[in-house]
Symmetry: C2
Subunit: 550 residues, 2 copies
Amino acid sequence: MARAKAPVRDWTRRRTAKRERLAAVRPFASGRIVDAARTGDAVQALLRPGDRVVLEGDNQKQADFLAEALAACDPDVVHDLHLLIASISLPEHLDVFEHGVARRLDFAYAGPQSVRMAQLLADGTVEVGAIHTYVELYARMFVDLIPDVALLCAEQADRDGNLYTGANTEDTPTIAEATAFSDGVTVVQVNELVDRVPRVDIPGDWVDLIVESPRPFALEPLFTRDPRHIGQVEILMAMLAIRGIYERHAVTTLNHGIGFDTAAVELLLPTYGEELGLRGKICRHWTLNPHPTLIPAIESGWVESVHCFGGEPGMERYVAARPDVFFTGPDGSLRSNRVLCQLAGQYAVDLFIGSSLQIDADANSSTVTEGRLTGFGGAPNMGHDPHGRRHASPAWLGLRAGEPSALRGRKLVAQITQTFRAGGVPAFVETLDAVQVGTDAGMPVPPVMIYGDDVSHLVTEEGVAYLYKAAGPAERREAVAAIAGATPVGRDADERRVEALRRDGLVALPEDLGVDIRRARRSLLAARSIEDLVAWSGGLYDPPARFRSW
Amino acid sequence: MARAKAPVRDWTRRRTAKRERLAAVRPFASGRIVDAARTGDAVQALLRPGDRVVLEGDNQKQADFLAEALAACDPDVVHDLHLLIASISLPEHLDVFEHGVARRLDFAYAGPQSVRMAQLLADGTVEVGAIHTYVELYARMFVDLIPDVALLCAEQADRDGNLYTGANTEDTPTIAEATAFSDGVTVVQVNELVDRVPRVDIPGDWVDLIVESPRPFALEPLFTRDPRHIGQVEILMAMLAIRGIYERHAVTTLNHGIGFDTAAVELLLPTYGEELGLRGKICRHWTLNPHPTLIPAIESGWVESVHCFGGEPGMERYVAARPDVFFTGPDGSLRSNRVLCQLAGQYAVDLFIGSSLQIDADANSSTVTEGRLTGFGGAPNMGHDPHGRRHASPAWLGLRAGEPSALRGRKLVAQITQTFRAGGVPAFVETLDAVQVGTDAGMPVPPVMIYGDDVSHLVTEEGVAYLYKAAGPAERREAVAAIAGATPVGRDADERRVEALRRDGLVALPEDLGVDIRRARRSLLAARSIEDLVAWSGGLYDPPARFRSW
């Protein structure tokens, strides 16, 4: 045989390292349970310079107590860490770099910390591997960014390490799986140690260390939109979207991004949608977080199912009382799961619709605006046509194209935006700010959120552009311009070409869709305030304090 | 407020139905444990006409005992079931339809049963919803195909329902999650009931009923390829792939499909790859099942990590002894997970390369050949460029294209095939058989496995075509034809155009890549037999009986 002499090799180095790490933590723990007062010592004892460390910073929940412990490590002992974190949202996430504990960063989103992030990058304090979407970052934890240590969070744990995540399951099972099965060390901060968890979201033998945090983990109500702030323009756009996209394509499975534009759609279903006789014909199956603005549609019998990426503070009792609609455990509370909801959104859902801050003439869009290195979150995964899909649905087939031998349908990817943002800033621009931000940050390609050639529909207050029908980039640009209003992209639109595009079905104005602009009033909203949502919920929705005005 | 009068509604119908179903099974069970002799009665008592039932039929493991029980149900009692099953591989899977128990089917793959499947479809005995890829089918279980009952399988369970899957975790956690958190009923056949499972792969409170099967679940060694059957042509193609794709693009993260072509690549790494000085530069991180033909590369220090969709019989002891490379639990055995490995393959991996049975002039390819409605499996998910990816790598960036404002990289999607299959059947054809099969089966679009415009590289024994460089469909066809040999697609290739394509870098012949055809001999394989693989493994690989010839 051709066997070369194989080098002698130890194949259990990670297992040995894990044993040594856990031994080093022993003085600060009793079995699996770390003494909360010694959390800093335990984290420091666990880590080795250069370690690849996941810090759970999800879209919503944050392992904030462990983040503080990490930031407080002695940089003479723990340094050059490679931090993996989905969402950079707490000051501690960047303190870790300023204090010299970590050096390299792979992340997905940096909303509240985006300005400081850009600064630290410019200073060379942070060395960025790449900016990912959430699921890309998790995907790499199984390939080339396998964690040495994961710092996670959950609601409760029992003494065997079984974890209860409650409604915000989010990303904990995925990160725990990547770490536990690669002989990494999983450390979890929990709000409460209990004798028996109400249900097991993550099995105890995946968990090495637990610390009972002195305060509950941080959690933001990111998906709550107060209907009070929905104005006539959002309502008009929602009417256009319902008639021009949902009804026309018979969209039964869908995902909504965050924002007032799609919240308006949710609040028009029980009124405008009902008038149009669309209940049961559209919007039956959803993948999205438990948006409070979806309550009226649920209560009116529009919604058969909702699978969630994460939870939403205040929606706990409502969700628990609607188990036929939401995915809940035997304990009654939501089980969310970002990776599975992303999978569902990508492969089982016909429409993604989301708001954008900037759109260029080619329909490329981005929420990255000047100076802010925000990253991507999950929109790019939802906002593209997955070429790996093979099952058909009426909505998907309605956009079919290609040679007969390779005919295929297409996912509906819609962008919705007013032509001008607050303060008269045009939403349609010649060049996305993202291009300059990308250049400044030394990114190899510009941080575009959704590529123009993936966008099938564009909605503004002017009308709907059916970009999927465009014969090529030139015609796509014409269709974008036709509904871009008086922005730099729209103001030179040729009126006769717009008429031709209407005739050819590439552009529809409100009158083409039978939408009466005069009806775009707040009285058409099923709920006009948070208080209304509480009433719709039969008192089951508990809005966070900041949303209570009564 | 605008609240419409909401209809009075029961929001806990699924929970009530679950309680009733479990009550009906009580006579045949003691707590969670079903009396194996009464499995048929239990399954029949559990089901209601019209139920949506998942039967675990994964790519590899099969809940065969429960499949028999299902097929034996009385069709007067249980009928019109809607069956969801990933892989139709056992006769019982179709008996269920012939016996009148089930009517509707959503599935992903029908390898061994594909001929009978096509027949039952033509007879109207089976009503097909759609043919999916694996992950699409799972995705829909969270959206519009939420299961009422799931019939699953695992290695072991304890009396609290905690499941141990061993190496073939595959799809059980995903299906269990979809079912358990939607108030569906999960029933699991296990090979063994134990007091304590070696590790918990699925928590007990996700599991309703357990039956100890009288025999272990069926499991096929689908990913084992005997090096004895690798000939000079496969070796030549592997050399071309290594030099023309892996080395040229510095591919460090990858997925291999099943087949002798890619097995040859695996077996050339420690020999030809070593000579070229490529160790550490290519093929470091893998997403694929534990292929026995990867053993020599692992032993020679090429492979840093492997994450797996499923397991492979015979590889258990070897994998357990190489925990630094494979994802294993504290019990030592593999933890696989199809959904997470697919996620990794889609978003973290730079190259997919797989064999195809037929390729047309536009590079569309399919393994569906006449009369066989095989379906898709997982290749389409791996074999496309995910537009939702946002992080860069050298390999991905090497294929970048687009306007500067929307510049992006691209996944390498390679197809590898000889120009003629066994028996002189051309692999390159004017029209894929899939087109006719799709028409005959009434499919809305032809069942193409991988679309031509997603294929970046094509390898035959003639050379490599760099299709991603083609300026358009016409040039892509020329590049395909240039390496399609004497097939209907290749025989009219214009020699002068081929020269031009070589000059422009769209086509590379062996001499262009520095590949010496004379070296394409079996002596270049690191292992030339299953026995060699056992030796490489230090006796840790236990090949299934059918692969043992000594």
